[in-house]
C-alpha cells in the first residue's frame, strides 16, 4: 500500500491523477488516521464523513474524466469559524451550539469547486480569541509533538490536524497570528494573506479590519496552491481585492539570489525569546544566506506599542461584531427571561466563555463615551505609525524574516490565569495584521524536541515574495513538515 498519510497534496495529486489510488481510498486512509490519533490530539470538533464521501465520489468522477485540478480529491479540514451550509459551525463557542449556516463561506466554496474533500471541522479558541486553543468552548486540542502542550491558537485544531497527518490541508484564520503561531508550534506551514486577498464572506467575524483566511499545509507548494484557489474578488465582500488571484504564484518558485531579507532587531534581540528558538532561527538565516540572500538589519521602532494598539482595536471590533449573538436569530437563547434586555444579557453571559466576555468588556469600554479618543482613536493613530515602520523597513529589504513566536509550545494550563502572558505569544505576528501584510510561517528545526517556526513577511500583495523565500528555504533543506514521533508508525 502506498503511503498516503503524511504525504503532501502535490504527492497525492500525482497518485490520484495516475489513478494509482482513488479519492475514496485517500479519504478512507485519512478517516482511519483520524480514528487512530484524534482521541489523543482532539483536533476535530466534528467530522463530516457523508459530505466527504460525496465529495470523494465527485473527485473520482472528475479524475476519471481527466477533469481534475491540483487539489481534486485532497482531504481538507476547516476551522470552526468558516460557515459551511448545513454543517454545524459554532466558532468554538457554546453560544452557537447547533447552528447550521444557510450558506457556505466563499473561501470554502471555491475549494469545494476545486474538488477538495472536507473531512471535518477543527477546534479553535472561542471566536478565534486566543493563542492556545484552550479557550475553546468544547475542549482543548493537544500538540501532536507533546500531548501535554498546546498546539497554539487560535487555529490550533487546524494546525494539529495537518501536523498529525489527519488532513493534508486545513483552513484557518489569522487576526493577530492565529495561523502563523499554531503553524510554528505544530511544525507545519501556515500562511496569512494580505488583507483583502481572500473574501471574508461566511467567516464568523472577530475583528473585521484584521481577519484573513489562509491555509495550513505540509509544504510551501501546497499552501501556495490552496491560497491561489481561494483568492480573488468576491462581490459578497466589499473589502476583497480585484487583483488577479494568480499573482500569488507569480515566480514564487524562483531563487532568492541577491534578495535582501530584513531581520528586525525588535523581533530578534529581545527579552523573552527562548535561546532554542533563536538558535533554530540562526541556522535558518545561515541557510538563506547560503542560498544567495543577504540578511540586513532593519528596525520596527514602534513594536513595543503594537500589542497595546492591537488590544484596543481587536476587542473594539469584536465588541461590535459579537453584538449579533443575542439569542434571537440563531444560537443559544434564554427563553424564560421576563423582558428582552434580560434575555440578551442572560443568553450572552451564559453562552460566551470568559476570554470572549473579557474582550467584549474591554472593547465596549474603549468605545464608550468619554474614552473613545483616549483609546480607540489613539490606537488607530498608533496603527498608522506601525504601518509606517513596515513601509520604512521595506525600503531597505524585499522581505522580513523573524521567529514566528518567541517560544515553542507551552504546557497546557501554564498561561491561562494571566491574559497578558498569553497575549505576548503574538508579539511578532500581530504587526503583520495591523499593517495588512502577507506572512508565512514554515518549520525551521526543533528546540528540545518541539518545532520552531520561521516567519517571512512581505509588503502588501507580495505573497509571491514571502512564498519564494519560504520555498527557497524549504528547497535548501529546511521547511518541510515532519511527522511527530509520538504518532509515527501508525496509520
Amino acid at each position: 500500500m502506498t503511503k498516503l498519510i503524511g504525504s503532501t497534496a502535490v504527492e497525492l495529486s500525482k497518485l490520484l491523477r495516475a489513478r494509482d489510488v482513488s479519492a475514496r481510498e485517500v479519504l478512507a486512509a485519512h478517516l482511519e488516521r483520524i480514528d487512530e490519533v484524534d482521541g489523543r490530539v482532539n483536533a476535530f470538533l466534528r467530522l463530516t464523513p457523508e459530505l466527504a464521501a460525496a465529495q470523494a465520489d465527485a473527485a473520482d468522477r472528475a479524475l476519471k474524466a481527466g477533469d481534475a485540478g491540483p487539489l481534486t480529491g485532497i482531504p481538507v479540514a476547516v476551522k470552526d469559524v468558516l460557515c459551511v451550509r448545513g454543517v454545524e459551525t459554532t466558532a468554538g463557542s457554546q453560544i452557537l451550539r447547533g447552528f447550521k449556516p444557510p450558506y457556505t463561506a466563499t473561501a470554502v466554496a471555491r475549494l469545494f469547486e476545486a474538488g477538495v474533500v472536507m473531512v471535518g471541522v477543527t477546534n479553535c479558541d472561542e471566536f478565534a480569541m486566543g493563542s492556545s486553543t484552550e479557550n475553546s468552548g468544547y475542549f482543548p486540542t493537544h500538540n501532536p509533538w507533546d500531548l501535554d502542550r498546546v498546539p497554539g491558537g487560535s487555529s490550533g485544531g487546524s494546525a494539529a490536524a495537518v501536523a498529525a497527518g489527519a488532513a493534508v490541508i486545513a483552513l484557518g484564520t489569522d487576526t493577530g497570528g492565529s495561523i502563523r503561531q499554531p503553524a510554528a508550534l505544530c511544525g507545519v506551514a501556515g500562511m496569512k494573506p494580505t488583507y483583502g486577498r481572500v473574501s471574508r464572506y461566511g467567516l464568523i467575524a472577530f475583528a473585521s479590519s484584521l481577519d484573513q483566511i489562509g491555509p495550513f499545509a505540509r509544504c510551501v507548494d501546497d499552501a501556495a496552491m490552496t491560497l491561489s484557489l481561494m483568492a480573488g474578488y468576491d462581490p459578497l465582500d466589499a473589502t476583497s481585492s480585484e487583483r488577479p488571484r494568480q499573482d500569488v504564484l507569480n515566480n514564487y518558485g524562483g531563487d532568492i539570489k541577491g534578495m535582501r531579507l530584513g531581520l528586525p532587531r525588535e523581533y530578534y534581540d529581545v527579552e523573552g525569546i527562548e535561546p532554542g528558538v533563536k538558535s533554530a532561527v540562526d541556522r535558518a538565516l545561515q541557510l538563506l544566506r547560503d542560498s544567495g540572500a543577504e540578511i540586513v538589519d532593519v528596525t520596527l521602532p514602534h513594536t513595543d506599542y503594537g500589542l497595546a494598539a492591537y488590544y484596543i482595536i481587536a476587542p473594539a471590533e469584536c465588541s461590535s461584531n459579537l453584538a449579533r449573538f443575542d439569542g434571537v436569530r440563531f444560537g443559544m437563547s434564554d427563553q424564560d427571561a421576563p423582558n428582552i434586555i434580560e434575555a440578551y444579557s442572560r443568553t450572552r453571559r451564559q453562552g460566551f466563555g470568559s476570554e470572549v466576555r473579557r474582550r467584549i468588556m474591554l472593547g465596549t469600554y474603549a468605545l464608550s463615551s468619554g474614552y473613545y479618543d483616549a483609546y480607540y482613536l489613539k490606537a488607530q493613530k498608533v496603527r498608522t505609525l506601525i504601518k509606517a515602520d513596515f513601509d520604512q523597513a521595506f525600503t531597505k529589504c524585499d522581505a522580513i524574516v523573524s521567529p514566528t513566536s518567541p517560544t515553542v509550545a507551552f504546557p497546557i494550563g501554564s498561561r491561562t490565569q494571566d491574559p497578558l502572558s498569553m497575549y505576548l505569544c503574538d508579539v511578532f505576528t500581530l504587526g503583520g495584521n495591523l499593517a495588512g501584510l502577507p506572512g508565512i510561517s514554515v518549520p525551521c528545526g526543533m528546540s528540545d524536541g518541539l518545532p520552531v517556526g520561521l516567519q517571512v513577511l512581505a509588503p502588501q500583495w507580495g505573497e509571491n515574495l514571502a512564498l519564494r523565500v519560504a520555498r527557497a528555504y524549504e528547497t535548501a533543506g529546511g521547511g518541510m513538515a515532519a511527522m511527530p514521533s509520538l504518532l509515527r508508525g501508525e496509520g
Partner: protein, 97 residues
C-alpha cells in the same frame, strides 16, 4: 487606572452582558491589568498622526440596486430558538400598561 465596580456594571450594561456573583471583581481586576499595559500608548505624541481604520487600497464600492436571490424565510428562521408565523419570537419589549 483601575476600573471601579460601578464602571464594570456600566460597561456590562452597554455590552448586554449579565453579571453573576464574582464577575464584577473578575472584570475589574483583569481589565485593570490589561489597561495598565495599554497606558503606554499615551507616551506617544500622535497629535499630527492621522488614524488608520483599514490598510489596503480598496475604497467604497457601489453596486447596481437590482433584485437578486436571497435567503428564503424558512432558511432565515431555521436557526431561531423561537419563531411564530414567519417571524422571530422574542420576549416582550414593552411593559404592559
Amino acid at each position: 487606572m483601575p476600573l471601579s465596580k460601578d464602571e464594570v456594571r456600566h460597561v456590562a450594561m452597554l455590552a448586554r452582558l449579565g453579571l453573576e456573583p464574582g464577575d464584577e471583581e473578575f472584570y475589574a481586576e483583569q481589565l485593570s491589568g490589561i489597561l495598565e499595559h495599554i497606558e503606554r500608548l499615551q507616551q506617544l505624541d500622535t497629535g499630527a498622526i492621522p488614524p488608520t481604520a483599514q490598510v489596503v487600497e480598496v475604497a467604497n464600492r457601489l453596486r447596481e440596486d437590482t433584485p437578486r436571490p436571497c435567503l428564503d424565510q424558512a432558511d432565515a428562521l431555521a436557526n431561531a430558538a423561537a419563531a411564530v408565523d414567519g417571524f422571530f419570537r422574542v420576549p416582550s419589549i414593552q411593559e404592559e400598561a
